[in-house]
Symmetry: C2
Subunit: 474 residues, 2 copies
């Protein structure tokens, strides 16, 4: 092992070539600072390997030097998971961006970790297939990142999270060995499922280098509607009814409380007129996809008409064109204008049983308003997944104490309904102080034991998830 | 700890009550012998705890006595996973059989591990919900068993394996502590996913005591057809086309090679006439479920008609009644008459990329016929999942050498296509000698390290999966 005797930079250059090692001061901001601009760092080296073997060799060098390694992907995470350690190695897999196979019989795509999600989506689409994972950061998020964080998004209701799309996986472990099971099948009950342990581990158990992803046939029809319901219970009844009548086709069911809807649509006036009037307690954006060109639109309309006739919904608008479809989605996704007046705000991504959502929203509102009577909050989210997002502002800049008090208010409400402090964004740095509010002592002990098996030197993405604050409950 | 000083039986009786401890000679056959009657054992005690705390206390006693603990469920596994150790504890959770909640807003069911699958299915159905996992052994398999083996079945194509239906999980670990995350939501990215490690670990990492299962809205329509295709490629084209046109509704796509179809239908004559004539190379049983009473049947028929017109399929019959539906399923599921002339046979449950299936079938046939020129083989399976079942007979009784030679022939073909030696039945005892044919050295080392974390004394179901034969490749 040269790594033990050579200086770190020389050892790294020997692995990937001097042209693919960048020293501290020359490292670009996008490898050091995350999208929230909350976390920044000063890594000693940026290293850009070209192959799995090079990644393995880099990790062996890091291990010999006891130097932290953090994979820097699209840097679009929101909890600081992919911010390198000061003095550590920032590992970019951007050169490992190839799609090496699309197998339309097996409906799989074999892809390197540095491939952008959007590139992978488009490559699948070109072949008439769908890579169902979709999220706003598709143009910057890398496949390795969406696997490492078990990304969710707007279509989890139908196709699941990233976890559910990974058939095969290859990763470099902390000792610089490669673990690989690049299989193409849904079913494989031959031993402990280490893949599921790596997926969502935020780069702390291994470095994902390649994957075989499950594809689906590309839908040829799409129906989108915005509906208004008299209360939360009715809205969930609508969700369940549509899951039956659109059986299997329902891909999104995005819940928006009245204050969210009012704020977002208000900000987009007059360019975009409100698709439905104000005044309803709850709104839902509904999307279905299918492949029956003759039947799907009519089925969707029939389903909504029935719900209107039965007063399960009070109002509805169906998109009649791609332009109208985008306008409906803009209410839910084009958040920048609407949330601008709330800056600075703190955002949350929590989950719970659907039946517990109203209690959570009530308690969270109460907790926050006790602490900050003038605070404003909006709620929205992926109702079918039990996943709510919330934004909170106190109408003033927030220091660390305020943030902690807000977090405590929200996560106390989460704990009260046996929910999770992170539905899809992960733990990273920012959620780590509250990990013990959502995981029991025994779970945390087990997680620490697992970390010890995978990475006894704690060189893989240290300071994140378990590491950040001890993790054990006080 | 009394366990260290008291005799084992007395310590166990102190935990669960003397009435729920049965000593060796009084233990009924169904707790000692599995359904294949290939594996039998002489456990020292049968223990039937009533609560999770009692399970934990039993495990603490076992740990103090260094005595193996094996959960005996429905004993319908086929690889010997649930056969107790000689002199060990057979743990039956049959008294822990309650369904404690069905939450129709969250669409979840909270259930104890000893509940029979069929009871859970029926309880869901009574409330208008579907627990989608279904398999032939539904009347004997327990929830803990289908979680411990990550069971599959006939509807994986649409709803996934058992793994995909577990939202919350509670288990007793080898040190007698309880690990629990009985949550009700699809999304939870807060730390390492230990649930997925326990699911499918065949009782070697922990004892599942309770779970929160995901329910789905109960479909109200069902369409079933048998089709014939000119070759494997066309048959898979049909699968992919139906995945589009029946978008999301397709729940089963069961492939049957000609020899399987001939044998099964022949055996059922004249009671059941052949639904389609002989002479086609490949047959598929297709089922879809939905909730659109007005549209589903017509959509299904239209889809098949299009495939007929385009010669993707050569023949088709649609079930017009529940009786006809059952007759079509009988071809695939009512195997006893058809396979009787093949006894004694050896059965396989393997998986691979769908595109590799023809190569696998060819190689497997060749390998077997080189070893045994008069051997007969039939293939059938869940094509959409990459899962094939095979039965092989050499027309004579098989000793251990013959079995090993057949296994080698089949698993060599599996290895050649980067497949798995166990798609859904697990490893248990019978597949353990070949685990290294489907998992790499690094994977096996990691699995052993994980076992060491969970069960350093090797008291949980020893002799199964990793344990049986060292597991490491020669």
């Amino acid at each position: 092992m040269h790594g033990e005797t050579q200086p770190l930079g020389i050892a790294l250059a020997a692995v990937v070539g001097a042209g693919h090692v960048t020293a501290a001061l020359d490292i670009g901001e996008r490898y050091r600072v995350d999208v929230t601009r909350k976390y920044a760092s000063r890594p000693a080296f940026l290293v850009r390997p070209a192959t799995t073997d090079e990644v393995a060799a880099v990790v062996r060098v890091a291990s010999a030097h006891r130097t932290p390694v953090t994979v820097v992907g699209g840097q679009t995470g929101t909890v600081g998971s992919a911010v390198p350690s000061d003095g550590g190695i920032a590992l970019s897999l951007e050169r490992m961006n190839r799609i090496t196979e699309i197998d339309l019989l097996s409906m799989t795509m074999t892809v390197e970790a540095g491939c952008l999600l959007q590139i992978a989506q488009e490559a699948a689409e070109d072949k008439g297939a769908l890579l169902p994972l979709d999220l706003g950061a598709r143009g910057s998020a890398m496949i390795g990142g969406v696997i490492g964080t078990n990304a969710g998004g707007n279509r989890v209701l139908r196709w699941g999270m990233m976890r559910d799309m990974v058939f095969g996986l290859e990763a470099v472990l902390a000792d610089g060995t490669v673990i690989s099971s690049m299989t193409k099948m849904l079913k494989d009950n031959a031993g402990y499922n280490w893949k599921h342990l790596l997926i969502g581990s935020e780069g702390t158990l291994g470095i994902v280098t390649r994957a075989v992803l499950r594809l689906r046939p590309l839908p040829s029809t799409r129906q989108t509607a915005l509906v208004a319901a008299p209360n939360f219970g009715k809205c969930i009844e609508v969700l369940r009814r549509l899951e039956i009548t659109l059986s299997g086709r329902l891909s999104s069911f995005e819940l928006m409380w009245e204050d969210f809807y009012e704020r977002m649509t208000e900000a987009q006036l007059p360019v975009r007129p409100r698709p439905l009037p104000l005044g309803y307690p709850i709104y839902a954006l509904i999307e279905a996809m299918g492949g029956d060109v003759e039947g799907d639109d009519a089925q969707f309309e029939r389903a909504l008409n029935t719900l209107l006739e039965e007063s399960a919904i009070q109002d509805a608008v169906i998109a009649r064109s791609e332009r109208e479809r985008q306008a409906l989605w803009a209410v839910r996704e084009d958040l920048q204008l609407g949330i601008a007046p709330m800056r600075p705000f703190r955002s949350y991504d929590v989950s719970m049983g659907v039946s517990d959502m109203p209690a959570f929203v009530d308690t969270a509102r109460k907790n926050v308003s006790v602490a900050y009577p003038n605070a404003q909050m909006i709620f929205y989210g992926h109702a079918g997944d039990g996943n709510l997002h919330a934004l909170v502002t106190i109408g003033a800049p927030m220091d660390a104490d305020v943030e902690m008090r807000l977090d405590t208010s929200i996560f106390d409400a989460v704990r009260g309904v046996n929910g999770s402090i992170s539905a899809e964004h992960g733990i990273g740095i920012s959620r780590a102080p509250f990990l013990s509010w959502t995981r029991s002592k025994r779970e945390l002990e087990l997680m620490q034991a697992l970390k010890q098996v995978f990475d006894p030197q704690h060189i893989l993405n240290p300071g994140k998830l378990m590491d950040a604050c001890g993790g054990l409950p006080k």
